[in-house]
Symmetry: D2
Subunit: 404 residues, 4 copies
């Protein structure tokens, strides 16, 4: 029997993944289905912590997955490559969910990759090659709707987990809903894919999560639109590795009034994300959101650099080396270094599930617009200035407390 079709209506939350055949999406689907099949636990999921699990959230087992992608290689093939190159998922987990993955893969529609930069395969297909922007947006919206209808979903959450786009030049030209809609109508081909997906989600009343550094719902016009339509949305750039550590460590230096002279961060990684980031244009956006965390927590920092390099043998593993040179009492110079070795997808995937569940809760309870309680998930939390991880997380605990 197919996954989830025997679940009660009120549990039927849909998850629409933009970039559904990518690393993060694949791992999120594998994990959700492995949990549903009783093959793995929920380690790594924030919503399973005691402080949050009291909320009445849609169960992981009941999530129904679909999505857009522009690449034809199936989720099963992706998962096999991940298993072979990274050892995650392991062979047993993959076998347990192989049929689920195949079923989900058939629900994936062709998307857009307009202004997504260079690293596409020759087999990729794209809506935007033949359609005007307005038509692209409408097609995307139709895809959302027909998925919801077909699966009789109570609610559909759209999550952008596609590769990082190059930074959008002059985003302020789309700062109002009007300006944005005019651009769509006039077929302004500067608009990036992430904005198309976000616009279609808000237009359809679907909660939207921007898991990436791409523009998407960070655009002024989208924010205004979401506020007017009272659709919950959140982002951007999920905080999974080095930046997560920074947001936990930097407050320590600040809190003790230690003066950080230099914070050097070198990241090496070997997955497609790394390859995309080799392109300087695509990297710019990511580096900006990574750098902001330190500037915000440590306003007196003298020198702050982040590098991301592509190291093929690491596959999906990402290693960061950070070197922190700081000054204390009596001008004493001291140092801290750390290395972080994580599987990028395994760190990101549970957060996708967390965000889907938490934004569905917000939607159910009528919280439209930005979601400050979700700040702890992001490198550049929309609408929140706080970058201290513990304090960000406290906002989520406070939110959960209100619903006890």
């Amino acid at each position: 029997m197919s996954q989830g079709t025997d679940r009660p209506v009120d549990e039927r939350t849909g998850v629409w993944l933009v970039g559904a055949r990518g690393n993060v999406a694949t791992m999120a689907i594998v994990g959700a289905r492995a949990i549903a099949r009783g093959r793995t636990g929920t380690t790594g999921m924030v919503t399973e912590r005691e402080q949050v699990s009291s909320l009445d959230l849609p169960p992981v087992e009941g999530l129904v997955f679909g999505g857009h992608d522009i690449e034809p290689e199936s989720i099963v093939a992706q998962a096999e490559r991940q298993r072979d190159r990274n050892g995650v998922p392991d062979a047993d987990a993959l076998e347990a969910v192989r049929d689920d993955l195949a079923e989900i893969d058939e629900r994936i529609e062709v998307g857009t990759a307009i202004n997504c930069g260079a690293a596409l395969s020759e087999e990729s297909e794209r809506l935007d090659e033949d359609l005007a922007i307005r038509e692209v947006v409408e097609q995307i919206g139709d895809d959302y709707e027909s998925f919801r209808d077909r699966h009789d979903l109570e609610r559909l959450v759209v999550v952008n987990v596609a590769s990082t786009e190059p930074e959008l030049p002059d985003p302020e030209r789309y700062d109002s809903r009007d300006a944005l809609e005019r651009a769509i109508d006039e077929d302004d081909r500067d608009l990036p894919a992430s904005v198309c997906y976000a616009y279609a989600a808000i237009a359809g009343g679907h909660p939207f999560v921007n898991f990436t550094p791409s523009t998407g719902n960070a655009l002024g016009g989208i924010r205004e639109f979401a506020a007017e339509n009272e659709v919950p949305h959140t982002g951007r750039d999920a905080k999974t590795g080095e930046t997560l550590v920074k947001s936990a460590l930097a407050p320590m230096f600040a809190g003790r009034n230690l003066h950080v002279m230099s914070w050097e961060g070198h990241n090496i990684l070997g997955n497609a994300d790394g390859l995309v980031l080799e392109d300087e244009a695509n990297a710019a956006g990511k580096l900006a959101t990574k750098g902001d965390v330190l500037e915000s927590i440590l306003p007196d920092i003298d020198h702050n650099r982040v590098r991301i390099d592509y190291t093929p043998s690491l596959a999906d593993w990402k290693t960061a080396w950070d070197y922190i040179h700081f000054e204390g009492f009596l001008e004493t110079e001291m140092k801290m270094q750390f290395t972080w070795e994580g599987s990028d997808s395994a760190l990101a995937a549970p957060l996708v599930l967390d965000l889907v569940r938490l934004i569905a809760h917000a939607d159910e309870h009528g919280h439209g617009g930005l979601q400050p309680q979700l700040a702890s998930f992001f490198k550049a939390p929309l609408g929140v200035e706080e970058h201290d991880f513990s304090l960000q997380l406290n906002r989520l605990y406070d939110y959960a407390e209100r619903y006890r």
Copy 2:
């Protein structure tokens, strides 16, 4: 003219350092006087952060130092050794305060080292060799009083910065004020020095800070006494290096529901503290308070070890290597490592000044007993369960906010 004698009465806060010729005390005095002389800034002082500096605190420039020690070597000699071995303080700073140090050194009285373990020099002198415990306590109390009188001090804060004592066996036998006072009267020679200093401070109404892992005011009997007398006291074991980092990092693993399988912490250091800790008995107390932080924040941790080794060439520098092996989503095993290279005394010294200023404020405003707003300073904060550094620090900010 002598330091501070020209200051108005309301600024005259005394600082009585138990272990006044040790590394930490010396560095605190050098730093305070260098600030007073305009030779250094206040980097490293929590009380100079914007969130706290709004409090009406005694100025660093006005602090008047005295103390107990059992070793005859002068503060000047100590400071010179620190300069030569560690480069902290630097030669210029030391010259600027040399006369101040010499003056302060003359105010240092012979103290007790009863049950302090083995590492004393042959030149050391001790009150407890000839006196009964009750007499020791009275002599200490008299020393506090005569210092206050002589310098016309508004308030005297006693700070224990002496070397770590061996753990006191069966401390619960002194769990009430009655039991403790009976033991003092009966000349119970199991009582350690830190308890004598704490008792005398509370008896005299002097705020007491236990900067070390030694028993001191952690004893039930002292806590009851302080509560009854409404004398503020705080402790224990200042959080300056590896444990500080742990209290910032461990909440990140907890907050993301990542399962820490092993956390190995290796500390190497070369100062007298390291030498004392080579004695397993003395190390036991320190390792216990260091270990507790992780157990508290990460209740599911499988393996948690802390080692402290003596590496002479490091002098006052302390290097920690921590290796964290954790499990995430889909049973993925990942790793984080860090090294921390800090000058122990330079990290500790400003916190001595912070604690003096903050406990003086509490005393002025009538807050007797334990001081939960000071939890962020300690590895084992008395009366506070919270070990997350950011959340501990928030208590201090909330305290400061109340006085705005």
Copy 3:
């Protein structure tokens, strides 16, 4: 058809593994058979380097394995545990050689564990429980012979890969062949297992490799016996991880006349070897051979400590953190740190095969006694003072050159 029975006589070299069901032996057998089955390459084998492969060595594919053990759990079960806990060997490699392992497991005889320390299971069986030492030695010798006869082997190499024994007190009492044989005859129950295996090997004319820090052929009496009988033997304590790195790095400090003040080495590991080393007595021998490398290369080192701790979650992985504090020109203090994360068995296993092949070559060409050309393989190379890895390796290349 069974492994190897179709091979020509001159390729039939036997490998008798003492501790045949342990980590290292299992991995060596898995690897040799996986090479024979075309499932893996020879990465990690020194004898496959161009400088050495010109020697006429017995092919890996033709090696015939047998051995002693005292534990009943099969090699297959061991290999499965290694696969599950460490991911080495991988599932495919294990399947390819599963039948070979089962066949080899049937050739394993009950051995002795006399004076091997505490960490034996309840199911273990031991020759020495019922037999006198002389009888133990004879039984071992008979096991060697009957294996050679049964498999029609040209030559049998005995390799000790059993867990590290506690250090033998006063080994000099067995410094001559006479003294040793008298002790065997008098049933001196201070003799450790490793010496029994070595004695029986030399007596039977079988080349002997001591892969461990245990006494074995390092004993004066064994060395004299081997020299008289012209049997090649070598050891001890294979250099696979942290010490290997030390033997490559320390010559750099020496060569540049940099003064190493402190070299701290912390090892954490999670396999049975780690558990055995938790017993301080067993650790003493290992720490001694590890420490000697630095003392030999850096005679002026001021401080040199090695720690080995048991960290269960690491399984067979061993992580070392080394901190090197050194002084250069103009008394400048500088630092180097490294971490090494290796799979202990995967590093050791290919060296077992290398040593078997190389000592078989020595035997074939009449080189009895110690084998200085094999020094690069060992932490404490018998009969060689040189600890610089590059220079040790040059001896092997020179040896190979002589046979071109």
Copy 4:
């Protein structure tokens, strides 16, 4: 009395430093004079190792320093800045040699910086602004000669320690002495400064050391000229930090037949050298010689990247983080990481003195042309393929052995 004027003629070796007011030159002069004044030892000098010190070398105390520079700031000012920013030399050592430095500074002549890249100060002066190349070369040669005459020197060694030049395009156009001399005569303004200094040295019969990655004596035309004139010369790019470690460690991976998949090297430093290297053109030469070491020792390496970044707070300190991802037996992936924290000038300076002494010895004994016994000092040893540090060093020991 002036330094050295009372020494016997046969000890009078001159050292002409190109870039005499730079970090390395300053530290070499400070060190040599501090040794002469009995204020420091010879730690860090290879020529003081037992294996080399048997050679009859010019004593450090007798070296007479002079040089070229284009910047007016004095050696004393340089040394003071080094003391303040790096703590090397320390205040006492600097005071002891201050007068010597001032005297030496007066002997420094204006040099050329043609094709040296961008990072010159506004105060700099340059011979090449007004003179033709032939005239520049002649002026340099005259400076060498008049220094030798004035100080009655037996021998003058010219050492290039100036900042790294951008790579020379198409160096093969100067591959013969004829082509080079024609270019000089035709005022070919593509020729870089380092070649002018080298040409003038060879023409005057002065031994030449290229301590930097700049072209200098690596040019075919210079090599031919030196061979014909039988003038000893050596280079290039002194091996002081990360690359030194690589040349010690990489042979370990090669020697054990471990397959290095990725070797990432990140260097951060804060001195003028770092600033110059920020200019990509200047960095290219340095990165090339650094990268070659690994490619040579590990021909099968899959990925090898070196980065050099400028981190101002580090001053003259250079920190390298290297991450080595390698594969062993049974395709097991393993990792090694190291960090190296060194004072660049303190590591380089003693090698300047070593090279001066050793090339003077070669000159005295009639060894013209390239000096393979000096390969261990360089990242790109001219005329030597061997990059294994131990084996390179053995060449020096063999050379010394020949003169016992």
